[in-house]
């Protein structure tokens, strides 16, 4: 009964989100985000059909859909990157480098694991592989947040909502998958409830249009190295002061 309630409420929220997205034309602004939701809705209906009429097919199909969902979910991060940093080439470049570093580290870890004979990373089960992918996503979210906060990138309610929903879902998934691999049993409700919670956040954040912020491009005339040397020049009195405190 509880499974049915969680499942149906998730689908209703998904449909609500999509309908509202079409009504307000958010689909054009966040095409990847809404593609992800179309995929999740179709996947959910397909799995329901398989569960009812071809139960033997359900398990392998579930895992396949789950991994496709994770990969498509990563596109949400790309969407955030594209929408939030599109007008800020300097910050976008910094974010690309930071994300590149995160993915390079993940790849290096995977290769090291492989060289020790592990199947993929030190993962023995599908749940572990999923957990590892979620961990990489968590690091990517952290990297994006750090860059956006450090560079004071304006974030509207929509972006904050998308970020909060997906971030919370990833964090709860990491916890759930960690526990399930440690105890050897699955906590299916946790994952479904976490996703429904994320859907609620998305629905609330994307329900109404946000005030479009007037974009004032304050592009500096100097190149980046000039900006760096100007910052260093501005820092010089402070540095000299601190050095003075050191008695030099």
């Amino acid at each position: 009964m509880l499974t049915q309630i969680i499942w149906w409420s998730g689908n209703v929220l998904e449909v609500l989100l999509l309908v509202r997205g079409i009504q307000l034309n958010w689909i054009k602004r966040f095409p990847l985000f809404y593609s992800y939701h179309v995929f999740i809705l179709l996947e959910s209906l397909l799995l329901f059909g398989l569960y009812s009429w071809a139960p033997r097919m359900y398990r392998p199909s579930w895992w396949t859909c789950q991994f496709a969902g994770i990969l498509l979910g990563s596109l949400i991060l790309f969407e955030i990157y594209r929408v939030a940093l599109g007008r800020y080439p300097g910050t976008a470049r910094m974010a690309r480098n930071l994300l590149g570093f995160v993915f390079a580290m993940a790849l290096a870890k995977a290769l090291v694991g492989h060289s020790y004979g592990a199947f993929w990373w030190p993962a023995r089960t599908y749940a572990e592989v999923e957990r590892n992918l979620r961990v990489v996503q968590a690091f990517a979210i952290l990297a994006l947040i750090i860059v956006m906060v450090a560079y004071r990138i304006p974030r509207g309610r929509h972006l904050k909502g998308i970020f909060a929903g997906y971030g919370l879902f990833v964090a709860l998934s990491v916890m759930e998958l960690t526990l399930s691999t440690f105890f050897g049993k699955s906590f299916t409700y946790t994952s479904a409830i976490a996703y429904n919670l994320a859907l609620c956040i998305w629905a609330v954040a994307l329900w109404a249009p946000e005030k479009q912020e007037e974009f004032a491009r304050t592009a500096p005339s100097e190149d980046h190295l000039t900006l760096i040397s100007r910052a260093k020049e501005d820092l010089e009195p402070v540095r000299l002061g601190l050095r003075g405190a050191a008695g030099r």
Partner: protein, 185 residues
């Protein structure tokens, strides 16, 4: 078990960072122009005056401390210590604020850079972090130890950061605080 704890910590950090991300307010894009301009003007003014250098040298002067100790008056020593402690704390807070405003000004401008040099940017961010950490540590030391103790700490930091090259040190005037005072009057 260690991995479980580590991943739980990661998830907690992610949730905490998300909450912080949601709480930090957006700054209006248009207001940024005026703000950035005023920050630049402030920084330029400060750079002209060179107050920070003079005050830093005066507040942490070992000469003053030796002189007061030479008077052999516990009351005077205590008075001096309290006065210098307050001054040093305010000066260090002011320095940290100045560094922060320069950092914000720089980040605001470099967001738009088409030719952002990632390595140079990271180095500069490291310098900001280093200087702010130095200020914070010195503030802490001022509160718990002698007002001249940050001298040792600052020297230690400078050594750690490899900033004690003779040619770099020569940039700073070796004049004692008394000489500065005279030159300012």
């Amino acid at each position: 078990m260690n991995l479980v704890i580590l991943l739980f910590v990661l998830a907690a950090v992610l949730v905490g960072t998300l909450l912080y991300f949601l709480r930090v307010k957006d700054r209006p894009a248009i207001a940024e122009n005026a703000e950035a301009g005023s920050l630049n003007a402030q920084a330029a003014k400060a750079a002209r005056h060179g107050d920070l250098q003079f005050l830093g040298d005066a507040i942490f002067s070992k000469g003053d401390w030796d002189f007061i100790r030479g008077e052999d008056s516990p009351l005077l020593t205590e008075l001096f210590r309290e006065e210098r402690r307050g001054l040093a704390a305010r000066w260090l807070n002011h320095s940290a604020e100045r560094i922060r405003s320069i950092r914000e000004d720089h980040l605001r401008n470099s967001r738009f850079s088409q030719d952002l040099d990632v390595l140079a940017e990271v180095k500069l961010l490291g310098l900001f972090v280093y200087l702010i950490t130095l200020c914070r540590c010195m503030s802490l030391v001022v509160r718990v130890a002698e007002p001249t103790a940050p001298r040792t700490l600052a020297l230690h930091f400078e050594k750690m950061a490899g900033r004690l090259a003779p040619e770099q040190g020569a940039v700073v005037s070796p004049l004692p605080a008394e000489e500065f005072r005279r030159s300012h009057s």
